[in-house]
């Protein structure tokens, strides 16, 4: 946790440095775009919605870039905007109905692993992804914000307007569900 906190503070300082120009903001946003899109994918259930929500978050952040100086944690702010965009998109009934769930995009395996390991590794990933999709929405959001967004539990609690204990409980529940998939119990 200490590493994460350090990295976070370091990124916050970088954002503070880049706020003076739009290029810095774009650079910072693109640096977290893979985690953001992945988080949005798990929240929205399909790739297109995740891309759209990320795009909306990007534009919203871009249009309010003049106030970035006031943002202490730009990464958390970007994820917060992304989650709001995802919720807005979920409220759109037409989009919900019109966009069926599609398969997850393929990831490049590491070249160092043997094929049997790669197959076992892929199966584990597949089970974990399914488990992530099966998590309750609040558990899913808390885990992804922590895992991909690298947000602290306090930021997550502020974002979800709930106590920190509740967030941690939800985090533990999510971890237990994932550990069952990994047979780590």
């Amino acid at each position: 946790m200490g590493d994460l906190a350090v990295s976070t503070s370091a990124r916050a300082g970088a954002v503070k440095d880049a706020k003076t120009s739009g290029e810095d903001f774009v650079r910072e946003f693109n640096g977290v775009r893979a985690e953001l899109v992945s988080t949005l994918f798990y929240l929205l259930g399909n790739h297109e919605d995740a891309q759209d929500a990320a795009q909306d978050a990007f534009l919203k952040c871009w249009r309010t870039r003049q106030g970035l100086g006031e943002v202490r944690n730009l990464r958390a702010w970007i994820f917060r905007v992304g989650l709001n965009a995802a919720k807005d998109l979920q409220r759109n009934a037409w989009r919900r109905r019109a966009r069926p769930l599609v398969g997850t995009p393929a990831q490049a395996e590491s070249a160092t692993t043997s094929p049997p390991e790669a197959l076992a590794h892929g199966e584990d990933l597949e089970r974990l992804r399914d488990a992530l999709l099966d998590l309750r929405p609040e558990e899913k959001a808390v885990f992804l914000l922590r895992q991909n967004g690298d947000l602290t539990y306090e930021e997550i609690a502020e974002m979800r307007r709930c106590p920190v204990g509740t967030v941690k409980t939800q985090m533990r529940t999510a971890l237990q569900k994932l550990r069952r998939v990994l047979k780590d119990e």
């Binding site: 893979a34 992945s38 871009w62 006031e70 997850t104 990831q107 985090m171 780590d184």
Partner: protein, 1174 residues
């Protein structure tokens, strides 16, 4: 804090994700530093955490985001003080689904409710439309039934207005000698006068050939309710023919017709008998003359009559009797020679008809065998006047008139009479002494009933008795009053009736002679009511007043003074009829105005006028207390004395209730005038007597005359011939003489005649033979004996009331059946239509009822669903809580609470929604019954029964026709034409049970059910009762017929006789005949030779002896052709006065009379008299 290895493995994941607090972190780190196994485990956990991170980071590569081309990369934006988060209307966006859901729910509920209400309204409108449609049909049915009822209700009056009730009232016998006056009454059955043409025929048919009828007379007239008509007199009725009166009225409906057989009244004759003198001596000739005329028309009889004259002497022996036919003009004449075979004294000449076709007439005369030289006698009283109780002494003396010698030694018979009281003498009067005198002595009683007395002395001189009378001078005084003032009251019409105006005639007599008085009619208490006074010194008077019930009235006499008696008026009757004719004497051509009053309830009467036993007019009226005016119009011949009588028809008889005599001055008369009479004649002088006869308009009138010139001393001091028009009704000629009635054109004479006639009448008149037979014919010819019609005058009343009502009933029944048929057809159409519409209404009403239950169904199912959901939630929460409890998880209380609350709500919901009073589906009973019953059945079938006449015919019509009382139902009623009230009474008196039973029976027969409404039931009951009453009435009409009342057996009315001509002795016709066209010719008819005598003076013929002939002219059949007759005769040698009498009658029934005097005095003597013509 320290961890063991197994605890440490559980905390490795929390450490990697920063979930541990500071104390746990430090303790774990301490343990890891000293435990290699846990370090290895941490490495494995980190590898799995990398795998999880890789799974969470799904994308390795994502296309970088670039700034949009239209967005400036470095837009100079104002530096915000803080960086706001993008606007996130979290609450609004979160509330939207609920609002939308609520709105959707509201929209759904509201829309559904609106749709439901719209559909419900549409279905209700459909039901109302269907209901209105059914009710429209009901209304049409009710309207049709009402219209049919109204049409049926108007039928009786309209049909009754088309039926003619024809009634004819008139003589039951055709009167050949008089105009037969009938009255036809035409009314409709509503009682209103109907204007219709009427044809009346008198038809004669042979008895053996009824079809060969011959119309004798026909009258066409237009009746406007009532119209008189007359059948002409003098029709030639074939012998043995049946005469029938047919009257037909042509109405809009069927013609009304009545007919009946009429008998032919036998002619009625009146005969006058005249003698030339009143006193005869043996050897003299009795000349007599009879004049026989039709009693009504005064025309000579058309048939041959044979008279029989008989002389009856004083011994009662019939000495002479000769039948002889009447001569020309109904005149018969004859003579008798008085021989000494006849006994001396009062003899009678009696003339009758051989077949009794006129009543026998008699005339008395005296046969005197005594000295032809009269005696001079006198009675001398010792005082000039006597008072009651005085002693009367008188001296009678008799001498012979020729030589003045005393009549000595002759027996004397003396009688004294005061009023009607005979007084006895103190001693019998002795025979006359040598001076011819005898003494008479008697005493007047102290109280006399009259102040008129006389002394009668009879002296026998041989075989002859001379009789002398002397008035007894009696003077009344206050100390000795004379009673005997006889006052008789004659209420006009007969009776005094309480409460009805009365005109009372009164007659005052004293000793049988008229007397005058003045006085006041007073009550019992002495209160003056009305003053009275006799008029014209005839002892007759009139006063008017209205008597009160229970009051007694008397006459208080003021003059003559000293009269103490107070004659009482007749007692006022509580009930009765008053008949009044204000104009007791009227002229021919004027209507005879009669007013009739009836005390108490009005009742039908018949007012008839008869003239010399011939009905001249009659009228049926209904009379009440207010009085009814009746105008009778007698035909032209109906003049003279008329008897006006009010009859009550009862049981076929006419009961006279009131009557009086009136006089109608005839328009036709024969004026007879004597011409050529000188003031004085010499004894033995030849006289030419000329008489002129003219009609009332001055036109010379051919007539037959009796001319008689007779010495007045040979005439009795008796009555002169009574006026012809009075003698038919008044039998006592002296009454006429005392009344001083000679009908002149003088109001005083009229008033006197009115007073005289009013004192006569059926209750006091000597010939009270009113018509007592009423033949009622109800439209068909009824058989009756000739004796019925022969009881003339009798009335016949032809009435088609029964037939008219029967026709009316038939027409009404047919019309109602037509109305019923139309109404039934219309009703069937409407009922078919109504059935169809009612089915439609049932369908839409059922659909509406189902639709109304739809919300309830939805709510019920919704409620059930809600309960199921609650039940499910409760069960799931309970299971979940139990599961967590088994798993040992904390915080299960809320799940148990949710389960408990859900199950509790479910239980409460089940309790609240338990089955209650379920509403019946389908049609509402009230609506259905309201429409299913409909307007009710058609009521006309019950009206189609025989109609009840009294529903439309006014009661008065029945009441006026009700004539025959019978005993019915224990009370007095009317068997025929009973009034509606009578029937109502009888129906009400019928036993209720029997009536109910009959009603129910009738109701069942008519298919009635008790499900009708009350109004309909009452209406049906009323109609059924009407039908039942009609049946009862029909049965009553068919019931025991009214037995015709047998006419009163009385002799035929033709009882007047004719005169008889007597063949006289062989006395030749006088040498001196008549001049002109009346030279003594043999009568045209008959074998009898009229005996005429015209005296020829003996001295003028050179014959010896004195000529003392008393009858110098007797011409019984002196015909005045062209109105002039002249005859010549000689006077005898007597110095006397002759009375000239001319009686005339014309062929057309005119009668006339003239009187005169011939004064015979020797030349040089002063004139003592002159011819006086009456």
């Amino acid at each position: 804090m320290t961890y063991r290895c197994e605890q440490c493995s559980e905390l490795l994941w929390d450490q990697l994700y920063g979930l541990l607090d500071a104390g746990q972190e430090e303790a774990l780190r301490d343990h890891l530093a000293g435990c290699p196994a846990c370090q290895a485990a941490r490495a494995r956990v980190e590898a799995k955490q990398q795998l999880v991170a890789r799974a969470a980071r799904l994308y390795d590569t994502v296309a970088p985001f670039t700034v949009p081309a239209d967005e400036p990369a470095t837009a100079p934006a104002p530096e915000p003080a803080t960086l706001p988060l993008p606007a996130r209307p979290v609450r609004a966006r979160r509330r939207w689904p609920w609002v939308a859901a609520a709105a959707a729910l509201l929209l759904l509920v509201g829309g559904g409710y609106g749709v439901y209400q719209s559909e419900l309204g549409r279905r209700q409108a459909d039901v109302q439309q269907a209901s209105r449609s059914v009710k429209d049909v009901d209304r049409q049915m009710a309207d049709a039934a009402r219209a049919a009822e109204q049409e049926a209700a108007t039928l009786p009056r309209s049909l009754a207005a088309r039926q003619i009730h024809l009634s004819v009232l008139g003589p039951a016998a055709y009167q050949p000698d008089a105009a037969n006056q009938y009255r036809v009454t035409t009314k409709d059955l509503n009682g209103k006068a109907a204007t219709v043409p009427v044809t009346a025929r008198l038809v004669a048919a042979p008895a053996d050939k009824p079809g060969a009828a011959k119309v004798l007379a026909e009258q066409r007239l237009l009746s406007r309710g009532e119209q008189p008509f007359a059948l002409p007199p003098g029709l030639k009725i074939p012998a043995g023919a049946v005469v029938r009166l047919e009257v037909e009225a042509r109405a809009a409906g069927s013609p009304a017709r009545v007919q009946d057989r009429l008998s032919v009244a036998a002619p009625s004759y009146l005969t006058y008998l005249n003698l030339d003198k009143a006193i005869y001596h043996p050897g003299e000739i009795v000349f007599f003359r009879t004049l026989t005329v039709d009693r009504f028309s005064s025309r000579p009889p058309a048939e041959r009559l044979t008279t029989v004259a008989t002389v009856i002497d004083a011994a009662g022996l019939r000495r002479l009797s000769h039948p002889e036919p009447l001569g020309e003009g109904g005149i018969g004449a004859g003579q008798f020679a008085l021989t000494r075979e006849l006994c001396e004294g009062e003899c009678v000449l009696e003339v009758s008809e051989a077949q009794g076709r006129f009543p026998t007439v008699r005339r008395t005369f005296r046969l005197d065998y005594g000295q032809t030289v009269p005696l001079e006698a006198d009675v001398k009283f010792d005082r000039r006047a006597y008072a009651p109780g005085d002693n009367v002494r008188a001296n009678f003396q008799a001498r012979r008139a020729d030589n003045g010698a005393a009549v000595a030694n002759r027996p004397v018979d003396v009688s004294v009479q005061v009023g009607s009281q005979k007084l006895a003498l103190r001693k019998p009067a002795p025979p006359t002494n040598a001076r011819g005198e005898t003494a008479i002595e008697f005493q007047l009683p102290p109280r006399l009933t009259s102040n008129r007395g006389k002394v009668v002395v009879q002296v026998r001189d041989g075989a002859y008795a001379h009789t002398y009378e002397k008035q007894l001078p009696i003077v009344a005084s206050a100390a000795a009053p004379v009673a005997g003032l006889q006052v008789e009251f004659f209420p006009e019409g007969g009776d005094l009736v309480a409460g009805l105006p009365a005109r009372v005639y009164f007659r005052v007599r004293q000793d049988g002679r008229p007397a005058d008085l003045t006085g006041t009619v007073a009550t019992r208490s002495g209160q003056a009511v009305v003053p009275v006074r006799t008029e014209n010194q005839q002892g007759l008077g009139l006063f008017s007043f209205t008597p009160k019930a229970g009051e007694a009235y008397s006459l208080r006499i003021d003059s003559p003074r000293g009269t103490t008696t107070q004659p009482s008026l007749p007692t006022a009757q509580p009930t009765g009829v008053v008949l009044s004719v204000p104009d007791g004497v009227s002229r021919e051509g004027q209507p005879l105005r009669v007013r009739v009053y009836q005390a108490g309830a009005a009742r039908p009467l018949i007012v008839a006028a008869a003239c010399r036993d011939r009905l001249v007019d009659q009228k049926a009226v209904v009379v009440g207390p207010q009085g009814t005016a009746v105008d009778l119009v007698p035909p032209p011949d109906g003049s003279g004395v008329l008897r006006v009588t009010a009859y009550q028809p009862a049981r076929g008889r006419l009961v006279p209730l009131a009557e009086r005599l009136v006089y109608r001055v005839p328009a036709r008369r024969l004026d007879v005038a004597l011409d050529g009479l000188k003031p004085r004649y010499n004894p033995g002088e030849r006289v030419t007597l000329q008489a002129k006869t003219t009609a009332e308009n001055g036109r010379p009138e051919t007539s037959w005359l009796l001319a008689a010139v007779v010495d007045e001393r040979a005439l009795e001091d008796g009555p002169r011939p009574a006026p012809f028009y009075l003698s038919g009704e008044v039998s006592r000629a002296p009454d006429l003489e005392q009344a001083g009635v000679w009908v002149r054109n003088d109001p005083r004479a009229f008033a006197a005649l009115d007073r005289f006639l009013a004192t006569q009448g059926w209750r006091r008149f000597p010939r009270p033979e009113p018509p007592t037979v009423l033949v009622q014919n109800r439209g068909r010819e009824e058989s009756r004996t000739d004796a019925t019609a022969a009881a003339s005058p009798a009335l016949v009343q032809l009435d088609n009331g029964t037939e008219a009502r029967a026709q009316y009933a038939r027409a009404l029944r047919a019309a109602r059946e037509q109305v019923l048929a139309r109404a039934t057809e219309r009703r069937e159409e409407l009922e078919s239509d109504r059935t169809r519409r009612l089915d439609e209404w049932r369908q839409v009403e059922a659909a509406l009822a189902d639709f109304r239950d739809l919300p309830g169904t939805v709510l019920r199912w919704g409620w059930v669903g809600l309960l199921l959901v609650l039940f499910g939630i409760g069960c799931l929460a309970l299971l979940f809580a139990l599961y967590r409890l088994v798993r040992g998880a904390a915080g299960n209380t809320r799940y148990f609470g949710v389960a408990f609350a859900s199950l509790l709500l479910c239980l409460l919901g089940v309790y609240a929604g338990r089955p209650g009073e379920t509403r019946e589906r389908g049609l509402r009973t009230s609506d259905l019954s309201d429409l299913a019953v409909g307007p009710g059945p058609l009521t006309l079938p019950h009206v189609a029964a025989a109609p009840r006449l009294d529903q439309v015919v006014p009661e008065g019509l029945y009441a006026a026709q009700s004539r025959t009382p019978v005993e019915a139902n224990g009370r007095r009623g009317l068997a025929v034409n009973r009034s509606f009230r009578d029937r109502q009474w009888e129906r009400a008196a019928a036993p209720n049970a029997a009536r109910r039973k009959a009603d129910e029976k009738q109701k069942d027969a008519n298919g009635l059910k008790e499900t009708r409404s009350g109004a309909l039931r009452s209406r049906f009951a009323m109609l059924q009762r009407a039908q039942q009453e009609e049946t009862m009435r029909a049965n009553a009409d068919k019931g025991p017929p009214v037995r015709p009342v047998a006419p009163t057996a009385r002799a035929p009315a033709a009882m007047l006789g004719g005169a008889g001509g007597a063949k006289g002795t062989a006395l030749k016709k006088a040498a001196v005949g008549h001049e002109g066209k009346n030279e003594s010719k043999a009568p045209a008819r008959g074998t009898g030779v009229p005996v005429e005598y015209a005296h020829v003076n003996l001295r003028a013929q050179g014959l010896p002896g004195p000529d003392a002939q008393e009858t110098v002219l007797w011409a019984p059949l002196l015909k005045a052709a062209g109105g002039v007759a002249r005859t010549v005769f000689d006077l005898s040698d007597n110095v006397t006065t002759y009375r000239v009498l001319i009686l005339g009658n014309s062929p057309d029934g005119r009668l006339g009379l003239a009187e005169g005097r011939l004064v015979v005095q020797p030349a040089g003597a002063p004139t003592s008299g002159a011819a006086k013509v009456k």
